[in-house]
């Protein structure tokens, strides 16, 4: 499940790699095992230090807390497997929130339409990035850096600089709701964002592992030249990945807006960093061609558990930043080491 793609094979021959099932080799078990060990040790240590940590309510909290970053990180996984990176995702989230909030403000009661419009706005901006990347051969780092400020500016323009309150109960329930209502504070239920995250992750896994497009993503990320030579429409694959990623940003942006009951032009600032961190901890390679959604989910969980645990222990926010950085570095070092023993 937590397997890892045979990276060297892909790099040497992208076309041949198309024939391979991702994540079947022995080494993949080794490394995912290591990552799982990291996670379990963290959980054990935190439950010893903090009596609250393992309570059902706190576990529900953790899952809700990772949902938005999780959705973004799944989208980022596609981009990173493709050998790219997306810095604009936080700004795109803000676009989805303000667009839908303002539509709802103008015409109340059309929450479903407004939400779809918010998501599609992000898909469109994703397409713009994809177009720039594939047509003009601009590095995704640069294209999305440009989109980072363009989309943030657009969000401020659309919202006229101010947050717009969302009053629609359905919209709010996407961020704050539960699958079933509880009568007392002690009962637990599954938060809606968690359900959305699970659906997003499942659909993305099917796309990445069970479709031709998914294999093309690995192939283009592993060796673009070889992929082109073997007849893959590389530009189309890139375009599709950025549209998919934009759409997931839109979904995350809607969940966030529901959670904070408003469309805020300044929302989700810096979220790209947490999403990239989750993907990297999850074992994807920044050079492309390698990465797994299951790894990314584990990465998001590690970040979420860490954030939650540090707050429970009352660790000063200054130390929190250091500790988070150390964990990211440690995970990548671990990643390198396990590759070596193989």
């Amino acid at each position: 499940m937590f397997g890892f793609k045979n990276n060297s094979a892909l790099n040497s021959d992208g076309a041949a790699a198309l024939m391979k099932e991702p994540g079947e080799s022995f080494k993949s078990y080794m490394r995912s095992y290591a990552l799982l060990v990291v996670f379990l040790v963290m959980v054990i240590v935190l439950s010893i230090i903090s009596p609250t940590f393992m309570t059902p309510k706190n576990i529900v909290n953790i899952f809700r807390q990772i949902s938005i970053n999780g959705i973004l990180a799944v989208g980022m996984t596609f981009v990173i497997i493709l050998g790219g990176i997306d810095l604009s995702i936080g700004s795109l989230c803000a676009i989805a929130g303000v667009t839908s909030a303002i539509m709802l403000e103008r015409i109340p009661g059309i929450s479903f339409v407004a939400i779809i419009a918010g998501v599609l706005a992000c898909s469109f901006l994703g397409a713009v990035v994809g177009f720039i990347v594939s047509k003009f051969k601009i590095a995704p780092f640069i294209a999305t850096l440009a989109m980072l400020t363009i989309a943030r500016g657009l969000a401020l323009v659309i919202a006229e600089g101010v947050p717009h309150t969302i009053k629609d109960p359905f919209y709010i329930s996407l961020g704050n709701g539960y699958l079933w209502e509880t009568s007392s504070p002690d009962q637990i239920s599954i938060p809606t964002p968690v359900l959305i995250f699970v659906i997003v992750a499942a659909v993305s896994m099917i796309i990445l592992y069970r479709t031709k497009f998914g294999r093309y993503v690995y192939a283009v990320g592993g060796n673009e030249q070889a992929s082109r030579a073997s007849g893959i429409n590389v530009n189309k694959v890139k375009m599709m990945v950025f549209i998919l990623n934009g759409t997931l940003c839109g979904i995350a942006g809607i969940v966030l807006a529901g959670r904070i009951t408003s469309g805020q032009p300044s929302a989700a600032t810096g979220y790209e960093l947490d999403a990239i961190a989750a993907v990297i901890i999850g074992g994807a390679s920044l050079t492309g061609g390698a990465g797994k959604i299951s790894g990314t989910i584990l990465g998001a969980l590690i970040i979420g558990v860490l954030n939650n645990g540090l707050v429970l222990m009352g660790v000063s926010s200054y130390y929190q930043q250091i500790i988070r950085g150390v964990i990211i570095a440690a995970a990548v070092i671990l990643d390198q080491r396990t590759k070596h023993i193989e």
Partner: protein, 333 residues
């Protein structure tokens, strides 16, 4: 496998580090070691009840919030029957909501929130209500007014006071520029309204231009540099916070335009020092020491069964002379 052991050792070392950090924070604040704290809890009824209060604030990277946190810690140390857990939301509304959930799961008796967003932090009010614990809002409040009490200032009053101070410094006549906060932030909206309203009373004061410095010193510096080349005649610059005011001051000093009077809001340490040195015309001080103290005491009273006061408004203090500036500076040591 050898590597796995290394990794586990690394993680163990890291978790020990975590444990050390985690333990040092409350013992440093409460003045009791962990073992003492647990014996206190064990001897049921023997000692006075210690109320556990969770506090969530805006980002500590802002000096104003850092002062607030220091003030809260001082209050925590002073009051023996409360124990504060103070958490940095790092300017993320989502993190603030998550932290409130975490505090509730941890079983705190009450929550004090310095709201990150007027609209966005409202779900925290719902969460506290659902958990049945009181919520006191501090410095910044939420759209959802179902909290017990708000302790803070009337933000518009700071703008009015800053505007009045400018008018006084200029003798009711001159050319003024305004550096605004992050557009759409309640501080920006209300302070701009206050300053504009105060200056409206003086027909000879002309507002040349207003631009956002996004609460940041270097952005304000850049804005000011542009203005200095654009406008040959400037009498005063008013900024929505001291960070930006200090940026404007630096730009004026660098350009040799020291005749320009700079007024800011908040009462940051560097601004007070600037007033003492005569480089910074004035600051409008938001007295977080009093606000923090009142908020914690209000929460304690509510937990002890008192009726919530709903609203406690603290007045701003104009800092125009070195003596007053020194007085507030000494308080922070």
């Amino acid at each position: 496998m050898k590597n796995l052991f290394k990794v586990m050792a690394l993680i163990l070392a890291l978790s020990m580090m975590l444990a050390a950090c985690g333990n040092s924070a409350p013992s440093g604040q409460g003045g009791t070691s962990d073992s003492q704290a647990s014996t206190l809890q064990d001897s049921d009824g023997g000692a006075e009840k210690v109320w556990k209060i969770g506090v969530t604030t805006q980002a500590w990277k802002h000096e104003f919030i850092k002062n607030l946190v220091n003030a809260l810690k001082a209050t925590d140390e002073q009051l023996k029957d409360v124990e504060l857990t103070i958490i940095d939301s790092d300017d993320s509304v989502e993190k603030q909501l998550n932290d409130v959930d975490t505090l509730i799961a941890q079983g705190v008796d009450g929550i004090i929130m310095d709201a990150n967003s007027f609209e966005g932090s409202s779900p925290a009010v719902e969460a506290c209500k659902k958990a049945g614990i009181p919520l006191v809002e501090l410095v910044a409040y939420t759209e959802n007014e179902e909290y017990a009490t708000f302790v803070g200032t009337d933000v518009k009053a700071s703008g009015l006071m800053a505007g009045e101070t400018i008018a006084e410094l200029l003798g009711g006549k001159g050319k003024v520029l305004m550096i605004e906060g992050m557009m759409g932030h309640s501080g920006q909206v209300n302070r701009a309204a206050g300053i504009t309203e105060a200056l409206k009373k003086y027909p000879d004061i002309q507002m040349l231009d207003q631009q956002s410095g996004e609460w940041s010193k270097d952005k304000a510096m850049a804005v000011t540099e542009n203005w200095l080349t654009k406008y040959p005649e400037i009498d005063a610059i008013v900024a929505h916070n001291d960070g930006m005011g200090l940026g404007a001051m630096n730009a004026c000093v660098a350009a040799g335009r020291t005749e320009i009077k700079v007024v800011g809001i908040d009462g940051d340490t560097e601004a007070l020092q600037g007033v003492i040195d005569g480089k910074y015309a004035a600051s409008v001080l938001d007295d977080v020491w009093i606000e923090a103290d009142l908020a914690v005491r209000e929460m304690r009273d509510i937990l002890n069964g008192a009726e919530p006061k709903k609203k406690i408004i603290v007045d701003y203090v104009p800092i125009k002379d070195a003596a007053t500036a020194q007085k507030y500076l000494d308080q922070r040591k």
